[in-house]
């Protein structure tokens, strides 16, 4: 009888096991999401499909930045171990052809081991980069023999190619994202490239496109056995959008050629549209140095050069005193606010005397009228005008008068970023009355304290872009469009904001007339004139604490219907007429006439030597 009861024990045991199973199944299925994620990671290999980066064109559709295919050789280290295991077991497997592998990649066994160790350290089971930036020819050899290299596969990338070798600063470069980049913006993943500097950086999100992914199904030995889900989940890469810029590639190349051996920057703008024709900074470098295998060493070399600073984009980042080119704006503001008329004249005697302080001038014993003050760049005249302006009781106190003047200057794009479509633009320097209190460390500063600003020195600095921009404002007789490089993204045309200055149109003519005569006999830069083109310009010779004066020039042409406005800034180039003016007028001639009539002018610029060894480093 007792044995009959064992039925219940047996049934209880059966049911207990089945209940335990049911509970376990419940646990597995409750945490389904976790399992699903892991199932996915285990059986699917994601192959990133890198999009083609958008191409950058110049205004005539010449290619400034293109793409060149390269390959990354990836390895899953575990697969190699597996091969060894199979070999030991005597299974028939494709053995790794080491000799051929080393031969194709042109590395030795030691290097191979080193790279494998690195990949293993990264992860034995997932893919690591074995070698990057493999050129197409080498990759073709690998592809052909890839079945002999189990565990390895190729991933196609593109790198940049800058076929014209110009525009390093405006184009920038691309580099693999750093961990900091990824942390900042999670749309970047390890191994992605990102624009650094220039248009590549500013328009990175547009240029880079969207990565695609191909899902490959793996079997238990991590062999690809087909497409996952028949490729239905695959995402095709979306190519980045192309950029059409306003750059004139020929003019840019010409400008860079003229600037060789000098330090400084040139910006040329089409005044009617704000389109930047040239944006050059010197010293420069071939942008192709920062693509491909030697990227790292080349970049390090460029960054290490603390004297020439070739990476530094002077055109938008250097902040220089505008010097006498600023007198054009002074004249316009003073006319607008009736501090002077076109008839106003002052007597110049060696300079402007303010107690013991003298702002020197090269004129002496001359009666200087308005026209002459610009044509000949009289310091005394503009010191007098500026003092008169600040002390004008119509405007209230000196500080109030200064702020009125300041507001005008801000409208000319000074003291703030113009908003050009490039990263790291600098604002230049211009303070309002309160700002000056801090600068002068004097809450009750008097007009005389600001005297050097009258002639574009002291507490004012501009970027070469701002310089060119106010040349464009004068050319336009009172307005400008935000200076920009990109005119078209893909098929859509971009529009930019129009800004007007609060100077009546009529006040521009006398200033422009005088600027025209700057390039005529009796002006400050007659040597830079170009036969047959009405160029209006203004020289500047900016004092600086580092060495020889900077040579500055703004210009636009033709006078009545300007097509180009230029700002040239040559560090330690001496008088504005020495080097900045000849460069500016060569660029104008080249742009308007496509060729230079008088070859010696080019030779002069090319041969003009500036001794930078005496310049104090800043």
């Amino acid at each position: 009888m007792e044995l009959k009861l064992r039925k219940y024990l047996i049934l209880a045991f059966f049911f207990l096991v089945l209940v335990v199973y049911a509970v376990k199944i419940f646990v597995i299925q409750l945490s389904a999401e976790k399992y699903q994620k892991r199932i996915y990671q285990n059986i699917v290999q994601e192959i990133t499909l890198y999009p083609e980066r958008g191409i950058i064109f110049d205004r005539y559709s010449k290619v400034l930045a293109a793409n060149k295919p390269v390959y990354t050789l990836k390895v899953i280290p575990y697969r190699l171990n597996l091969i060894e295991r199979h070999l030991k077991r005597g299974d028939e497997v494709q053995n790794f052809d080491t000799t051929l592998f080393l031969q194709i990649l042109d590395i030795d066994k030691k290097e191979f081991e080193k790279r494998m160790a690195k990949a293993r350290a990264h992860s034995p089971y997932s893919a690591s980069d074995f070698m990057k930036l493999i050129p197409e020819e080498q990759a073709a050899l690998l592809k052909e023999n890839i079945y002999k290299f189990p565990g390895f596969y190729l991933e196609k990338h593109t790198i940049r190619d800058y076929p014209l070798h110009i525009g390093a600063h405006l184009l920038g470069y691309i580099a693999e994202v750093s961990q900091a980049d990824i942390d900042k913006d999670h749309s970047y993943k390890k191994g992605d490239y990102k624009g650094k500097g220039g248009l590549e950086a500013y328009y990175d999100k547009i240029l880079r496109g969207k990565k695609g992914v191909r899902y490959m199904l793996l079997d238990n030995r991590r062999r690809v056995i087909g497409r996952y889900h028949n490729g239905q989940d695959d995402i095709l890469p979306q190519a980045g959008k192309d950029l059409k810029t306003s750059i004139d590639a020929d003019l840019q190349a010409y400008t860079e050629w003229l600037l060789e051996g000098k330090r400084g920057a040139v910006v040329a703008i089409e005044p009617k549209t704000g389109e930047i024709l040239v944006l050059a900074s010197a010293p420069s470098y071939d942008p192709n140095l920062l693509t491909g295998k030697d990227f790292g060493t080349n970049l390090a070399k460029l960054l290490a050069d603390k004297v020439d600073k070739p990476i530094y984009n002077r055109a938008i980042q250097a902040q220089y005193p505008p010097g006498s080119t600023f007198k054009t704006l002074q004249a316009l503001v003073a006319l607008q606010d009736s501090v002077i008329t076109t008839k106003t004249h002052y007597y110049c005697n060696y300079g402007y005397h303010m107690g013991s302080h003298v702002v020197k001038c090269h004129h002496h014993g001359v009666d200087v009228d308005f026209h002459y003050s610009i044509q000949n760049s009289c310091n005394t005249y503009y010191c007098t005008v500026f003092m008169k302006y600040l002390n004008d009781s119509r405007f209230g106190t000196v500080h109030q008068a200064y702020d009125r003047w300041y507001d005008h200057m801000v409208k000319f794009g000074l003291g703030h970023r113009l908003g050009v479509d490039l990263p790291y633009e600098k604002p230049g320097a211009l303070n309002d009355a309160n700002g000056l209190k801090l600068v002068f460390k004097d809450t009750a500063w008097r007009a005389g304290r600001a005297i050097s600003m009258a002639i574009g020195q002291g507490n004012i600095s501009v970027t070469p872009l701002q310089l060119a921009n106010y040349a464009a404002i004068i050319a336009n007789r009172g307005y400008y469009y935000t200076p920009h490089l990109v005119t078209q993204i893909g098929d859509s045309i971009l529009t930019y904001e129009k800004h007007t200055v609060d100077i009546d149109k009529r006040w521009f003519e006398p200033v422009i007339d005088a600027m025209e005569d700057v390039l005529k006999p009796g002006g400050t830069a007659p040597g830079a004139r170009v036969e047959g083109i009405d160029i209006c310009g203004k020289t500047g010779t900016a004092q600086n604490p580092f060495g020889e004066d900077h040579s500055v020039f703004i210009a636009f042409a033709p006078k009545d219907d300007p097509e180009i406005a230029v700002g040239v800034y040559i560090e330690n180039g001496g008088y504005g007429s020495n080097i900045a003016a000849p460069i500016a007028t060569l660029i104008i001639e080249k742009y308007l006439n496509t060729k230079i009539k008088e070859k010696y002018r080019e030779d002069y610029v090319r041969n003009y030597k500036i001794d930078y060894s005496k310049v104090k480093p800043n």
Binding site: K7, Y21, A22, I25, K34, I39, Y78, R221
Partner: protein
């Protein structure tokens, strides 16, 4: 045949449960192996399986129509010897698949002879043991009992000859009828304990030893009826362990804690046995129990060594269950994928034909890993349904067993209950990573003609025997 169903003693519930299982099994297989691009419909496993099911049903009804049920009793030895012969033949001339040489190729049909050995063994085992039940260890019954065990061992050996370890393990299922017929529970308990201890020893040795010692002492307390003797034995354990620790600490002998414990235990046991025999005249049973402790302890040290010498694929199967850090893309792949496939089913499943069968991620999905499809497509609800069907089946078989007048039918019924249970236990347990992978089919679900035929014959034989439940074969012959 119609006469069969009008028989008042025909057990409809068992047939219904059987039909439900076969139907659920075939639907699952259909969803797993469905392939619209197949070249011919005959190449598809679910179509072949349908054919096997029909054959099985025909054979099943032929069994039901047998005029005389006693032939199961009388012809069992002949059947057993015949199948055994086939199995041994297969071991030498059969086709090898997945390492086992278990298939005899008949052209259209590949016969897995060992499947039928389970059935034949169940019959002959029942016929033999029915003469010696209830099991008692006295001289007259011992011979018959020994023959029963010999029948099992012969069957196991012949299957091992085929290198089919999974099927060999199935024969441990005969512990169920043995227990029912009076095998002391201590023996079953001891074997289960030994398995648990061996398994634990692979996890952490010292922990396993401590665990085992506490457990064993508790068991002793329950089973040893001579309480005085037991108290002394426990004192010995404590004394020896303390003594060993004392020596270890005082003399700074650098032996591991494991060996301290083991040595103390062995010495304590030996002393207790000698002391118990001299002083208390303790029963043989009590002293055997103490002795078993030493065997278990031996297992703790031996198992890891055996484990270390196992072939790679078997060791990895154990590692998977132990949750060791194993390569998920190697041999453990099956189980990891199967648990994930089941997990992906969630509570209600992805629905019929919505498992990623087109990917065939889980190898052996239509055979040993068929339960994945259940879990994935029908979710927890479906899995519970299938488990319940099996529970119902076992419950029904055992109820049928208990209403028999004949010990033969009862033992036979318990045998097939044990066999079916072991299949379910081993198959689903493997798939959900609770036990190491044992490659045996899930009854009524896994693809395979031999298996479905064998399980059908098992059930229908019981149905036929049950119709004559008032007969007592062992008394007649």
């Amino acid at each position: 045949m119609i006469g069969v169903f009008s028989n008042k003693r025909f057990d409809w519930p068992l047939l219904l449960i059987y039909m439900l299982l076969v139907t659920a099994g075939w639907i699952t297989l259909f969803s797993t192996t469905y392939n619209p691009d197949a070249e011919s419909w005959l190449s598809l496993e679910h179509n072949k399986q349908l054919f096997f099911i029909i054959i099985s049903l025909v054979v099943g009804f032929m069994i039901l129509s047998l005029p005389n049920s006693s032939i199961f009793y009388t012809l069992s030895s002949l059947l057993y010897l015949g199948v055994l012969f086939l199995v041994v033949i297969t071991a030498f001339v059969g086709d090898e698949t997945n390492g086992a040489r278990a298939w005899l190729d008949f052209g259209f049909f590949k016969l897995q002879s060992s499947e039928f050995l389970k059935y034949a063994t169940a019959l002959v085992f029942a016929a033999n043991l029915s003469k010696a039940t209830p099991i008692e260890f006295n001289s007259e019954k011992l011979r018959t009992f020994a023959v029963s065990i010999l029948i099992l061992l012969t069957a196991i050996l012949s299957v091992i000859l085929q290198k089919d370890m999974g099927t060999a393990l199935v024969f441990t299922a005969f512990a169920v009828p043995l227990y029912r017929e009076g095998l002391p529970g201590e023996i079953i308990g001891f074997v289960l304990l030994a398995v648990a201890v061996a398994f634990l020893s692979l996890l952490i040795s010292s922990f396993a030893i401590l665990f085992f010692m506490v457990l064993f002492v508790v068991l002793l307390w329950v089973f040893v009826t001579e309480r005085e003797f037991f108290k002394r034995a426990v004192w010995f354990y404590f004394a020896f362990i303390l003594a060993f620790y004392f020596f270890k600490v005082v003399f700074g002998i650098s032996i591991s804690t494991d060996y301290v414990l083991i040595s103390a235990y062995v010495l304590a046991t030996l002393s207790a046995v000698v002391f118990g025999w001299l002083r208390y005249r303790a029963s043989l049973r009590s002293m055997l129990l103490l002795g078993m402790g030493i065997v278990l302890l031996g297992l703790i040290k031996v198992t890891p060594v055996v484990y270390g010498h196992l072939p790679d694929h078997q060791r990895e199967r154990i590692d998977v269950v132990l949750g060791r850090d194993i390569d998920p893309r190697g041999n453990a792949y099956n189980v990891i994928q199967s648990t994930r496939a089941i997990g992906s089913g969630g509570f209600f499943g992805k629905g019929f034909m919505h498992g990623p069968q087109e990917n065939k991620l889980v190898p052996f999905r239509q055979t040993d890993f068929i339960f994945c499809t259940v879990g994935e497509e029908w979710g927890f609800v479906g899995s519970l349904f299938v488990l319940s069907l099996f529970a119902l089946l076992l419950w029904r078989i055992i109820n049928i067993a208990e209403r028999q007048k004949s010990a033969f039918t009862r033992i036979y019924a318990y045998s097939i209950a044990g066999i079916i249970f072991f299949h379910v236990f081993a198959n689903i347990g493997s798939v959900i990573k609770l036990i190491p992978v044992i490659g045996i089919p899930l009854p009524f679900f896994s693809y395979g003609g031999s298996a479905i035929l064998d399980f059908t014959i098992m059930i229908f034989t019981l149905l036929r025997l049950d119709m004559d439940r008032n007969l007592q074969y062992e008394k007649i012959f």
